[in-house]
């Protein structure tokens, strides 16, 4: 029963969403299913928040290594909760001026807005900025020319990196001073255009032709994988996500 009910819900909701995609009459069913999910997700937030606090309090009480960070987490959690629910600095909504709490909790100038703008945004930006360094170290490892494939990757990456900067344009900019009669020639009947070899143009070609082809091949595989997985779940063949093979 513990597995059956979620399975039935998954199958029914899945079929409703599938039908809603093709039958105009059922369009609203899909929206209703989505609303139900949103309600469940909001309810589950309490579960998640409770779990977070429980673990942090356990860390503090047992004085585990780094328990000070856990204390900071708990203080920030309750601080944000009180400020957010109290809507400090939020003006009432124009439609409901008599209700003090009717305003938007992230209204510009409010306490929650201040926390978001001056704490959450900079911290998030800091984490995101670190990505640049991770890209550099990952690229350093990935571009080592260990074999033919890695060498090809290195050369392609070099062209794309240069082609995306002004250096790529500058390196072959002198070609613009030559007339087409010199830059366009043929060897054994095969036409060559030196302009096409400029890094910025090569980059465009690499991104539009081989890169797009590869991405589309992966995307088609993904789309079919999604269909097959969805059908396995809808037909109840795959129940491993419920903890059952």
């Amino acid at each position: 029963m513990k597995r059956l009910v979620p399975l039935v819900i998954a199958i029914v909701a899945g079929f409703i969403l599938l039908i809603a995609n093709f039958i105009p009459y059922a369009e609203s069913w899909g929206l209703t299913a989505q609303e139900w999910f949103n309600i469940l997700a909001v309810g589950a937030m309490v579960l998640g928040g409770g779990n977070l606090i429980k673990l942090q309090l356990m860390k503090i009480s047992s004085k585990k290594a780094g328990w000070g960070y856990a204390a900071v987490t708990v203080i920030c959690f309750f601080g944000a909760l009180i400020i957010g629910m109290g809507k400090f600095g939020v003006h009432p909504n124009e439609l409901y001026p008599n209700y003090a709490w009717s305003g938007y909790y992230l209204e510009e100038g409010s306490s929650m807005w201040w926390i978001y703008q001056h704490m959450v945004v900079p911290l998030t930006a800091t984490m995101f900025a670190m990505l640049a360094f991770y890209v550099a170290t990952a690229a350093f490892r990935a571009f080592r020319a260990k074999n033919i494939e890695a060498t090809l990757l290195l050369v392609t990456a070099g062209i794309v990196l240069l082609g995306r900067t002004y250096a790529g344009v500058w390196l072959f900019g002198w070609l613009d001073y030559f007339p087409e009669t010199i830059t366009n020639f043929s060897i054994f009947g095969v036409p060559f255009d030196l302009y096409a070899m400029q890094f910025d143009r090569l980059t465009m070609w690499i991104m539009e032709v081989p890169n797009t082809a590869g991405t589309r091949a992966i995307t088609i595989g993904i789309a079919l994988g999604v269909v097959a997985t969805s059908l396995r779940i809808l037909l109840g063949v795959d129940r491993s996500y419920l903890g059952q093979d």
Partner: protein, 439 residues
């Protein structure tokens, strides 16, 4: 000098006022051919209104290459009004809907408007007028006949999608039946999945935990579900080997589902006592805060194996590079094409796209699920076939120099109908078929 300029200026002012006054009294030409039709492929919730531009609309006259219109009469917008003629099922029409009332304004140059505030089965009339830059309103152009929005039984713009769905579903169902009959189906080995046991074994030997991240999406995303199916196997192996598994989650519902999955895995190998629910915990919904939490854990606890299976965004490289830094064996799987290069660069094994979705069937070894993989392969074959045929048609159409022949029409049929949303069959003129014209 001043004495001479004053009368000239005064005369110019008088002339301009006279000209303005004459323009004020003149109205622009009205739009023409106002037609209202029921929007196709919907539940009777929209009406599409179209009209021909006013002769004073510069977008229209410029296209027609005619004389430049009077600048005072240039159309700035179109005013659209609606009147409700009859209702359905005896419902009452409000007084303000019984008369003409403005429902929208459309910018100059626009020739269509979709009214989405209509009720199924009710009868509506529309009229459109042009408004010039002086605010003068033209006479009204009224629809010749009223329109009734009706519901279509099937969304024909998705007819080919339905056909492909049924076809792929048929392949999968067929091969599931083949597998059920006892026939052995071969599936190529997937190195990344073979490596999972090795990774968990290594963690056990080193006495360190296994970290599993099921992406940052919620439980309603198929990638998260696919990730949880892999988690079932990882947890089972960890339970068998006696390794600890740590599952931080970015969504509360994923935490609840992951707990069920891991608990069932521990139960299935007879180790319910080893199951620790607190190791499957929620961190935060914030993407980078979640990354900070997970990478912090990685640096402190140094898990021997890190497994990332699910939907990831920019955090993929931060996680994988941190895992690389601590020397963990890493296996990743995602269906995010933009994140795959990062995982390939930083992880030991990566499940690319469809391999990730095949993981559940592959790991379970269940013939029914493996049958579905075989069906998926046939779906891929059909996709490749359509691609090759489309490439041939496009090439021949390009070589013939015109689109108006068999090759061009066939290519358009594939791109517009089969892969687009132009319906089951070509309409001939290339326009979208408009059904339910009740006018």
């Amino acid at each position: 000098m001043k004495i001479h300029t004053i009368p000239i200026l005064a005369m110019a002012t008088v002339l301009s006022i006279a000209s303005f006054a004459s323009a004020k009294g003149e109205a622009p030409a009205p739009p023409s051919n106002v037609v209202a039709v029921d929007a196709p492929d919907d539940a009777g919730q929209a009406v599409i209104l179209s009209w021909a531009l006013s002769l004073n609309d510069i977008f229209g006259t410029l296209e027609a290459d005619s004389e430049a219109p009077d600048p005072n009469l240039v159309v700035s917008m179109y005013s659209i009004e609606r009147r409700t003629d009859t209702s359905a099922n005896g419902e009452e029409i409000t007084e303000e809907d019984k008369i003409w009332r403005q429902i929208a304004e459309s910018a100059a140059g626009e020739v269509t408007f979709t009214d989405r505030k209509v009720q199924r089965g009710w009868t509506y009339s529309y009229r459109v007028s042009a408004v010039d830059i002086q605010g003068e309103v033209s006479s009204w152009a009224v629809t010749a006949e009223a329109v009734i929005p009706i519901m279509q039984a099937f969304n024909m713009s998705k007819a080919w999608l339905a056909i492909f769905m049924l076809m792929f579903g048929g392949f999968i169902a067929f091969f599931i039946n083949v597998a059920r009959s006892g026939k052995k189906l071969w599936v190529r080995p997937i190195a990344g999945l073979e490596a999972i046991d090795e990774a968990v074994g290594r963690a056990t030997e080193m006495g360190r935990p296994v970290l599993f991240v099921a992406g940052i999406q919620d439980i309603n995303e198929i990638q998260t579900l696919a990730g949880l199916t892999v988690l079932a196997r990882v947890a089972k192996t960890a339970a068998e080997y006696g390794a600890q598994i740590e599952v931080p989650t970015c969504r509360s519902l994923v935490m609840a589902a992951a707990r069920e999955t891991v608990e069932a895995a521990y139960l299935s190998v007879g180790r319910p006592d080893a199951y620790q629910p607190d190791r499957i915990h929620y961190l935060t919904d914030e993407q980078f805060a979640f990354v900070a939490g997970v990478t912090g854990y990685m640096v402190r606890e140094e898990p021997a194996a890190c497994i990332y299976m699910g939907g990831f965004y920019a955090e993929s490289l931060i996680l994988a590079e941190t895992g690389n830094y601590i020397g963990a064996i890493q296996v990743a799987g995602t269906a995010m094409p933009s994140q795959l290069p990062f995982f390939v660069a930083a992880c030991d094994y990566t499940l690319i796209g469809e391999e990730f979705f095949a993981a559940s069937a592959y790991l379970s070894g269940d013939p029914l699920q493996i049958g579905s993989l075989k069906g998926q392969d046939y779906g891929k074959f059909v996709s490749v076939l359509i691609l090759v045929i489309g490439i041939c048609f496009a090439t021949f159409a390009s070589m013939s120099g015109t689109d108006d022949n068999f090759w061009g029409n066939s290519r358009n049929f594939i791109t517009d109908n089969m892969l687009g949303s132009a319906g089951l069959l070509p309409t001939g003129s290339g326009d979208t078929d408009i059904e339910g014209d009740d006018s």
